[in-house]
Structures are given as C-alpha cells and as structure tokens.
Symmetry: C2
Subunit: 177 residues, 2 copies
Amino acid sequence: MTVPSSRPAPSVAATAGLRVTPASPLFLREDEIRRGIELLYFGYSSMIRGADAILEAQGLGRAHHRALYFIARRPGLSVGELIGLLGITKQSLGRVLTDLNGRALVEQQVGKVDRRQRLLNLTPAGAALETKLFAELERSMARAYGEAGQHAVTGFWAVLMGLVPPDGRAQVEALQG
Amino acid sequence: MTVPSSRPAPSVAATAGLRVTPASPLFLREDEIRRGIELLYFGYSSMIRGADAILEAQGLGRAHHRALYFIARRPGLSVGELIGLLGITKQSLGRVLTDLNGRALVEQQVGKVDRRQRLLNLTPAGAALETKLFAELERSMARAYGEAGQHAVTGFWAVLMGLVPPDGRAQVEALQG
DNA sequence: CAGATATGTCAACATGACTGTCCCTTCTTC
DNA sequence: GAAGAAGGGACAGTCATGTTGACATATCTG
C-alpha cells in the first residue's frame, strides 16, 4: 500500500520535485494520520529552531520572538489583540512587553479612537531585529516551498487551515492580506 | 493577485473542497512565506490543544504526551532513541520517565542485545491513555485531511518534510512505515 | 584491562506559562 | 453625571519544562 518514495505515483506529480510518499486514497488511516502529526511536529520544530541563535545572542526567548513577529505583521495592534493572537494571559504577555519596551524594541502609544488602548509598534531597532529573525524563518520556509512546489504549498495551507477550529479561522485570515 | 476563497482558481482544484486562497506563481514572496509561518503556528497549536484536557485530568503535561506518543509509535525503543526524537537532554526526559513509570504507564526492560539499554514500552494503562490522546489528535487531523482532500495532504507532507533539515529526514522517515 | 557508551540521579537555574488580586484610566450606559 | 464595564499595568506565588554540570553504575568493545 505504501508507495516507495523513489517511485512516486505519476498521478500526483506536482509542479516541482516531490520527494514524499503521496497520500494514498485511504488517507484517513491511522498511519497517515500519524505521519501528519509527526511531520507537523518535526517541521514546526525545525522552522522555529532556526531563529534561536539570534534570540539567544540578544538574551531573548521564543515568547519575545512571537510578540515581535505579530507586532511586525500588524503594526499598531492593541495589547488585547496581541493577547488574543498569542493565546496567553495578560500577565504572561506583560513580562514580555516589559522586556521589549526596556530594550527599546517596541513602543506603545495611546489609541486615538479608544484612549484606554495601548497600540504596539516596533522601533527601528525592533524592526531590524524582527527582519533578522524573519530571514531565518524565511530561509527555512522558502526552501521547503521551493522543494515542494506551488501546488504542494496550496495543499499545505489547506490542511493547516483545516486544523484551525472554524471559529478561529477568521482571525488567521484577518492577519493576512 | 489574491483570489477570493469563494472562487478558487480551477487550475488548482483538488480532490475535495479547497477553501484557501491557492498559492500564486510568486509563492516565494514575503506575504506567502508569512502565511505559511502563521498557518503552521496556528495549525500546530490547534492540533495539540485538543489533548490538553485529557492530560490535565491525569495531572500530566505535554512533555508526557510526547513521550507516550513516541513510545506508542515505536514500542521497545531505547531511552537514547527517545532523547534523539524529542531533542531534549536525558535529565529532562528522566523526570518525565520517572513520572510515567511511577504511574505505571510505561515500563522498561533491559535490552537483550545490549544490556545497558532500557527499552520502553507502554503498560496496558499507558496504551489506553495514549489511545485516548491520539483520538483527540486524530479527530483534528482527520477533519483537516477530509476538508482539504487527498492531493492537499500530499502537498502538506511535502512542504513539512522540506522544513526538516536534510540530515534529519531519515529519522522522520524511519519513524514511519 | 582500559576506555567508550547507555543510563540514572542530584542540584541549581532559566523560561514562560498559570492564578489571583489590586489598581488606574477610560468608555459606555442609564 | 454616576455606575459599571473594559483595557491595561503591576505584584506575588506557583508550575511545567527546558538547561548545565557533575558524578555514579553497569555494560560493551577493542
């Protein structure tokens, strides 16, 4: 049932080189579910590990990276919105933001429409650091995209979006475009 | 450039419903890289969150889950092999294995070919718990597979394998089949 | 036999999450 | 305008899980 990866089924040949065993028609069997779980675990781990050296050199951790990433992605977002994206408590985020503020990587300004809000933006130094960190993730992701090909990328997105519960998908989409 | 998800491009229609914006020919642009990063983050988080309630009811954490998962996947693997899969130190794993041993979820037996090794297996209770935990992951992954379709799953695997550095791919493959 | 390897253990420490509580400011509603 | 809700900050304590470093024991290999 398992097709050796050295002889991929022609029917599922993609745009670029496809080195993985294609999903079988019985792709909901336990083995193929476990394959997805494992690849997701190792793929995710591999991607984020790339930025660890840069973070360590700055004395920061992955929690700081996640905050920097989303502030770069959505400049001017509020503290509450960032809490929602990260799925952590305000106390946990508070420590991270205190660090980033103290290092002048992030700055906060009072919201114009709602003065209770603190809108988050990167300073030039913060933007420079985020650019370096992003370059590491990009290197990993671009290689994977390039090896797998355009059609594979669409499938990659589709399955991942399917993993997100329906009531959380709008938030993910809103981040983009 | 962005095709509304309500009207997917026919050229990339997959086996089943495809609700995501397909990757464009310029799929290495920053926006499409960031889309992958974000979907990987939210997809991974969503999948593993499903088992948290079961774990909490047992007084266990995600570290215990990962150990149970791999022992279930490769019964009789050695401590050193498990350390390699998890990418943690023996001290970190030691605490986890002590817990799992104390709760009679895992048992260790001396290796037959190499008596220095401690080969890990689940007890019946451990296997029952792992089955419950796996069912949660499976529920999430099977839904995502089903919504995205067989071809998307192949692409999902291909991109994730591409994220793993080449020298780590054999280990991932060895886990399967 | 000597050295390498597999594993276990103790101790100290760092990160990043959590709960709970109290506070201040600002917006919304009656 | 007063009352309550909401956004945010801060302090304290705890927990889960990772890290280094050091040392011990048993076993394998040359």
